[in-house]
């Protein structure tokens, strides 16, 4: 488990860096939202790795809240883009 979680942590870090670069570069709001979504999912995956490594389930509720937050934020941004277009 130690080996697997270490490798997983390494690749998730790469994923987080890649997503962050896309958040900074943009160029559109939708691009940034897609990247932020990915970043949040990577965070969820990282917490999963932590749970698999330690067996510590204290942060489980954070996972549920994070996933729901990602969903709601995506919808809000989608509405925002549509409202802008509607003008």
């Amino acid at each position: 488990m130690i080996v697997a979680t270490t490798i997983a942590g390494f690749f998730l870090t790469l994923a987080a860096i890649g997503a962050t670069i896309r958040v900074v570069l943009g160029p559109t709001v939708a691009d940034r939202m897609v990247a932020l979504d990915t970043l949040l999912f990577v965070g969820v995956g990282a917490l999963g790795v932590y749970i698999a490594r330690t067996g510590d389930t204290t942060y489980l509720p954070v996972l549920v809240v994070a996933v729901v937050t990602a969903f709601v934020s995506t919808i809000v941004v989608a509405r925002y883009i549509e409202a802008e277009t509607g003008q």
Partner: protein, 287 residues
């Protein structure tokens, strides 16, 4: 070190590599729609893998329940949010679209539509579903959690009865539903592989397409499940539903007929899951 540990470890490593490849796709793909392919497939599937591994390793029954809830939420909310975002970006004239993108007209025979099954009525299982989610969210079967869940789920089920006729009845056929899940899993693996192999292409070689596909499914549940599912099938993100025509964005293709056939197969599986294999077979005599 048990066999379960080895499986969970493998899922962790593969999942994290997929997440990294998805993020790489975010950087490499040329426009927001192609990037969505990377985000919904490679990245989301990767995270689902790591979360599932964590569920196996968590040990405690409560942890497993919560993680299963997370995986279900990832499956449901990921493609849904992405579809909404894709539709918004598609309508926004300022969103740049990769120059290779082609909008393909469909000149396909519109399949015979199956009889509409607009079955209204209440969902007697609403309370049960709410209760199950409550228990999973708490990850415990302690008496106070159960009593609280019964109170909340019962109150909501009774209070929302007024809205009940707007919720179509869900009739899931177990065998067909299992076949759907199997089909879905195979498509999921294939589509993730498609995104990963598209990473090799230079942007010039990526030829996205927007395809209009006439739908046979009619009820809300079926359309929702189909749109959610095809976000995971090879190379497609649902863009928009216009009347009974679905607009999908394909990552890269030169064979739109194959894409339409894939969506039609998923449609068959969805219809079978909701109405039983007999109706679906009647709708597609060639199978």
């Amino acid at each position: 070190m048990t066999i379960v540990d080895v499986l969970a470890g493998t899922a962790l490593v593969i999942g994290s590599i997929l997440a990294a490849l998805g993020a790489f796709g975010l950087l490499r793909f040329p426009d927001v729609f192609t990037r969505m392919h990377a985000a919904t497939k490679a990245a989301a599937v990767g995270v689902i893998g790591t979360t599932a591994a964590a569920a196996v390793e968590a040990g405690a029954i409560g942890g497993v329940l919560v993680l299963l809830l997370v995986v279900a939420l990832l499956f449901l909310s990921g493609p849904l949010g992405m579809s909404l975002l894709a539709r918004a970006a598609y309508h926004d004239p300022e969103t740049p679209m990769w120059k290779n993108t082609r909008e393909l007209p469909v000149e396909l025979p519109i399949p015979e539509s199956t009889p509409t099954r607009r079955a209204g009525g209440t969902s007697p299982y609403l309370g049960l579903w709410l209760f199950a989610i409550w228990v999973a969210a708490f990850g415990s079967v302690a008496p106070n959690v159960l009593i609280g869940g019964l109170l909340v789920a019962g109150t909501l089920a009774v209070a929302l009865r007024r809205l009940a006729p707007r919720w179509p009845r869900v009739v899931l056929h177990p065998v067909a539903a299992l076949r759907f899940v199997g089909h879905f899993m195979a498509q999921l693996a294939a589509s993730t592989w498609d995104v990963v192999s598209a990473l090799r292409l230079s942007p010039e070689e990526i030829r996205p397409a927007i395809i209009e596909i006439p739908l046979r499914v009619r009820t809300r549940n079926e359309v929702t499940l189909l749109m959610n599912s095809i976000s995971f099938t090879p190379g497609t993100v649902a863009l928009e539903l216009h009347g009974h025509n679905l607009y999908v964005h394909v990552l890269t293709t030169d064979d739109p007929a194959a894409v339409v056939a894939e969506v039609a197969m998923m449609e068959d599986a969805v219809m079978a899951a909701f109405s039983g294999p007999a109706t679906a077979d009647a709708a597609t005599p060639q199978t």
